[in-house]
């Protein structure tokens, strides 16, 4: 059986081009950290008289927050992280649950797409945060926050999946018909699997965007979570070093989420013989 050799990570590191790219990445990161550590504070003081926390101060505030907390802060950072992740996953889950079938049907039935077209196109440019009044008036409790995350994930999932349907090779439809498939067969056995790579891309992007909305989402009605922590540290208490620590965490977690989704995407596509 012919099959391309799977190149594992160790093989790739031995490849000197890949090693070169890793080294460049490390250099870039170090340069940024040095600038943050020594360059930003003097600039801040000269522009606005206020100090700006350094990288090491922010990082140690972040690490500290996992085991220490002030009395105004009801949770340790690990718990905050848990609350935020759950909210993001919920919003993302609901978005996928709604957007994927919707997109598949829109791609499959022209009339359905035309029906939803104006609402979708007008809603799309509205950023999740602008929906805050809708969330605040119509929803209570956790649902408010989850709703904002939902909005972040919804459109990337919808659009990518829809694009997936539209880019199916029309020849596959012809083939399916000549093999005896009914319309229902074609939908379930051709359209759904054929869009899977676009669907995965949509899910990957959608989860990332949902994570990005967490700070603003928690501002409007959560009383814990990473976003709440950042907002309260910075704006309510004026402890900027803690807010920056929170930002570092958000960046890293966002990256980790992206990497996980990327691996899932690649694995599943290989599983299905499409990559």
């Amino acid at each position: 059986m012919m099959q391309a050799e799977d190149s594992g990570i160790l093989d790739r590191i031995k490849d000197s081009e890949f090693a070169g790219r890793i080294i460049l990445g490390i250099i870039g990161a170090i340069a940024f950290i040095l600038f943050w550590e020594y360059g930003i504070d003097p600039i801040a003081v000269s522009i606005s008289g206020n100090h700006f926390p350094t990288f090491s101060e922010s990082l140690s505030a972040l690490l500290d927050s996992f085991t220490h907390r002030e009395l105004w802060n009801p949770n340790y950072m690990g718990e905050h992280l848990g609350f935020s992740l759950v909210r993001v996953l919920m919003g993302f889950g609901i978005a996928a649950f709604v957007a994927i079938p919707l997109a598949l049907l829109m791609g499959w039935m022209r009339n359905f797409e035309s029906l939803l077209f104006p609402i979708n196109e007008i809603a799309r440019p509205i950023p999740p945060l602008a929906w805050i009044p809708v969330a605040v008036i119509l929803m209570s409790g956790e649902l408010k926050v989850v709703f904002i995350c939902f909005l972040g994930a919804y459109f990337p999932i919808l659009i990518n999946t829809l694009q997936g349907v539209k880019s199916i090779d029309p020849l596959l439809f012809d083939a399916a018909k000549t093999l005896g498939a009914s319309r229902r067969d074609i939908f379930l056995k051709v359209v759904v699997p054929a869009t899977s790579s676009h669907m995965m891309t949509g899910l990957k992007v959608g989860l990332g965007v949902a994570w990005m909305t967490i700070v603003a989402a928690e501002m409007i009605g959560a009383t814990n979570g990473v976003g709440w922590y950042i907002y309260f540290s910075a704006v309510q208490q004026g402890i900027y070093v803690q807010a920056l620590g929170g930002m570092i965490l958000i960046g890293f977690v966002g990256y980790a989420i992206f990497m996980v989704m990327d691996i899932i995407e690649r694995r599943s596509l290989k599983w299905m013989g499409m990559r």
């Binding site: 099959q3 012809d174 083939a175 000549t178 093999l179 067969d185 056995k189 054929a194 013989g273």
Partner: protein, 268 residues
Amino acid sequence: MDGNALISIKDLKVSFKKGRKVVDAIDNFSFDVMDSEFVCVLGPSGCGKTTLLRVLSNLQEATSGKVEVTRKVDGGKPVFTQVFQDFALFPWRTVRKNIEFPLEVRGVSAGEKERSSSQLIDLVNLDGFEDAHPKELSGGMKQRVAIARALATEASVLLMDEPFGSLDAQTRNLMQKELLDIWQKTKKTIIFVTHSVDEAVFLSDRILVMTSRPGAVKKVFEVDIPRPRERTSKEFIYIRGAVLAELQAEFDKAQAVEHTRDKERSKR
């Protein structure tokens, strides 16, 4: 109509709209296909060969005329199925799963499915590749999967639209031999569209040469040579020459029509 005819096409006309004009792709087309025969269809580009196949496999509607199928087919099994030049395999399915597609669609049981697909895989000589995905296969292998898949529909008639057009010369020759082998084993009726006179003469019982657009039956050749056929034999070369000449004449006519059209356009 010949008592042996499986398919009887009478006065078939297929038109479509091209901008504001109505263009006839096929007109006055009448032809009978015999049970279990191998027919090749040749003709200049644009003569409607592909359209003919699409109408037969119900991918497109005829404007007028009749296609009659004499024998009743078992419920659930189509009369026609098609094999495409670009293979049209489902990339996310393995070889076995691609072949099982028509069986799934018919609701065949799991055990039966596996038995049938194994038989077909064996028939097209793909043993060992059951679990490969299309992207791992060569062109010839992909087309074999496509043929096996089409056979899985248990349709009576195999429509083939230049199925070997994407393959290199050696693979092409090999596939032609394999197809004949499969045909003799399964006794299917095959309508095979091609541009290659050589291929047509090698494969078919009869060769149908179509006119240029709108396509109609220009001439039908009987190929009486016993198989396996030698490309260098006298009979082969004779028929090939005759078909080529017929084809060439039609080709020249098509060119002339184009030429006048161009002239008129440039005059405006």
